[in-house]
Subunit: 147 residues, 2 copies
């Protein structure tokens, strides 16, 4: 069993945030002894899931719904599975968008390296949109696809 301060250090999450999560109902079965919160293995796994679902773009109130399902037992396995499948698809989509973002950043890095080396952008602008060197044309194309 851990105190709020120990969990805070363990996960690198501020104490105020843990109290906020608790107030929002994210630790439905959290025990207390004489007013003090006692975090067990269940709450640690809940916190891992909270961080995961937050990173996947889910809002606190929807995470609360999930935690509620968890405390309702086997009746809710179906809903929980559906939720994780939805978030999995969301993260896969986000990964694709981030890959295109990275393509743009790769292109811009290359562009300013060239601009610095050549002392200007003129020669570079003449290569747009489709006479770029092979190694960077792909990144440019993917970053500019559809607009």
């Amino acid at each position: 069993m851990y105190t709020i301060g120990q969990v805070s250090r363990l996960f690198g999450v501020p104490i105020s945030t843990l109290r906020y999560y608790d107030k929002e109902g994210l630790f439905p079965g959290l025990e207390r002894s004489s007013g003090i919160r006692r975090f067990g293995e269940q709450e640690l796994e809940a916190l891992r899931v909270i961080e995961c679902l937050k990173r996947s773009g889910m809002e606190i109130k929807d995470i609360k719904q999930f935690m509620l399902w968890c405390s309702l037992g086997r009746e809710t396995y179906g809903q929980r599975l559906e939720l994780f499948r939805r978030q999995k698809a969301a993260v896969e989509a986000e990964l694709k968008k981030l890959e295109r973002t990275l393509d743009m950043l790769r292109f811009k890095c290359w562009y300013y390296e060239q601009a610095l080396a050549q002392g200007g952008e003129e020669g570079l602008k003449a290569l747009l949109p489709d006479a770029l060197p092979e190694e960077i044309q792909g990144a440019y194309d993917r970053a500019h696809a559809g607009l």
Copy 2:
């Protein structure tokens, strides 16, 4: 040249957002004819870069700084390159975190598929933390690494 409404439809960005960006100084050289904004190729590329930098986690005020550098000419190539390199590193780090998030989601999907199939979690909990089937143990380990 495009009006604000055309750009809005083209990029799928609300008109109010485009005006907000303009007010925040994200289109430093934006022209107007009798009060009406005229978006040219430069502003379209600026908007692509805005979406890219936003997705990479940058704040509006820092994007404004970048746009300012762009309007200052070749003196600022170095700063611009540095900025893109920094954001590239940030996105690469974010991609790694998202991969771990995805590992957690993969594990949870598998877990609830099993729970549904078996009618309960008991048999499953006995496999934690290191007796899981090969195909899912890796995802579990990566998702739970370091806590």
